[in-house]
């Protein structure tokens, strides 16, 4: 290991680059036995026990999925194991491009139900439908291509945010809009919804900032640019009103 002292940093760099990204290499050469021994040496047994059907793992002492005292977290493990156990025909998680068309149909149908309720201004009912649609969208098998879930979930929550806004629950609208942004950052709609919710709460500056952030992803979006102009107009109006009020006070 003393060679490291004679190595120039640049040399090490070129040498390490020749290795390339590990997951990309299509041909798998035999692993280095020395490294394998190192991996084996690192092994520490985890105290765990099974559920009755042996499909779920728990910590040995407390029979908990997620246990801070034992420092284990089997939630994700058990969820996937149950999913695989429920589908015995599935030998292993299939490639990501095989997707469940039926789930998409169900989500779209539920969302459309919500949309019709929304149009007939039954906002609370629409919110409930959207919530159902979002729960279905999120229960898509996790190995499927993530764009699908991303698009479905973001549209449904964006619609729910709009419904919350119409129901004058601006905080919920804001929370949903922020979730949309987290799920799909470069989608202008999420930023638009956030700005609208903030405007509902009379946070003009925050709303303008949200719109500007959205515009940085999509500078030509007309919805956002017109909304920004609207906010600025509104801001000016309130300022004018304030000035007017002050002037009147003075004259009195």
């Amino acid at each position: 290991m003393s060679h490291s002292h004679s190595h120039a940093p640049g040399e090490e760099h070129s040498h390490s680059h020749s290795q390339g990204g590990p997951p990309q290499s299509p041909m798998m050469p035999a692993p280095d036995p020395a490294l394998q021994a190192l991996i084996e040496e690192d092994f520490k047994p985890v105290p765990l026990s099974f559920s009755e059907d042996r499909n779920n793992a728990y910590c040995l002492k407390h029979r908990l999925e997620k246990c801070d005292a034992c420092d284990v977290d089997f939630v994700g493990l058990n969820r996937l194991a149950s999913l695989l156990a429920a589908n015995p025909s599935l030998l292993c998680p299939p490639p990501a491009n095989i997707v469940t068309q039926k789930l998409t149909q169900v989500v779209t149908a539920t969302k459309d139900e919500g949309n019709t309720l929304f149009k007939s201004s039954l906002h609370t009912a629409a919110i409930n439908r959207y919530t159902v649609a979002a729960t279905i969208a999120v229960s898509r098998p996790p190995w499927e291509a993530n764009q699908l879930m991303r698009e479905e979930l973001s549209t449904v929550i964006s619609n729910r945010s709009a419904a919350f806004y119409e129901a004058h629950d601006y905080i919920s609208a804001l929370a949903d809009a922020e979730a949309v942004i987290q799920v799909r950052r470069n989608w202008s709609k999420g930023h638009f919804r956030k700005a609208k919710a903030l405007l509902g709460m009379n946070k003009l500056r925050d709303a303008a900032e949200a719109v500007k952030l959205g515009l940085s992803f999509e500078p030509t979006n007309t919805e956002l640019t017109s909304f920004l102009a609207e906010i600025e107009k509104f801001e000016k109006k309130t300022e004018d009103a304030k000035l007017e009020a002050r002037r009147q006070e003075k004259t009195q």
């Binding site: 090490e12 490294l35 092994f43």
Partner: protein, 221 residues
Amino acid sequence: MAPVLVPIAYIVIVFGGLFIFSFFYRKHTSTQAYEPYFSSHPERNAYVTLLQKTDPPASDSLLKSALVRRAMADVQRVMRIREDKPALQNLLQKGSIGDDLWNSLISAEKELEAEIMEVVAEANSFVEGWGQVIFPTANEMMANEKMRVVFDNISEAKAELELKYDVKAKITATIGAAPTSQPRSNGLAPSSAGTDSVVSSDGEASSTPGKSAQKKAKKRR
């Protein structure tokens, strides 16, 4: 006698001393281990533990799930190394960090390569050809799980936002209507969301993919 002995003794003492020093120094540096870049691999430990359980053995689906989890952890580590490497390289050239950290990164990278090969081999031992799919699967699972977390955390985020804006909301009197409508709709929405998510995230997750899985299996044949 003496004039010959003195230079010889001198040479023996000097070179003997150098030799002894280099012997111990080399021994010291060769046993010196780098602090590992990643502390431990809990997912790998869990998988191997499950594999070693014989009485009763773990079910196949649990083992496969544990392997996917292990692959997910590896994907995370690969990304972490890819992110850290250029930065550390820069710092190393500037002299801000020592060789130790750099070497531990390099050895972690090598170990990760072996680890990935092992995961691929393990996957192939379950189902032939799974090795090519398991890492893309792990990738998708990470993205999907992140979204799921965002969705599950909406009500918490809402509580935080309420705290944040409730304080401010009292300053402007114009939103006087909002607080009255808020408790009603806030009480409604999370409760409906809560019951729905409890019922259907388990119910849906096991039932709808069940149907779909059969469809998929047919497609594959």
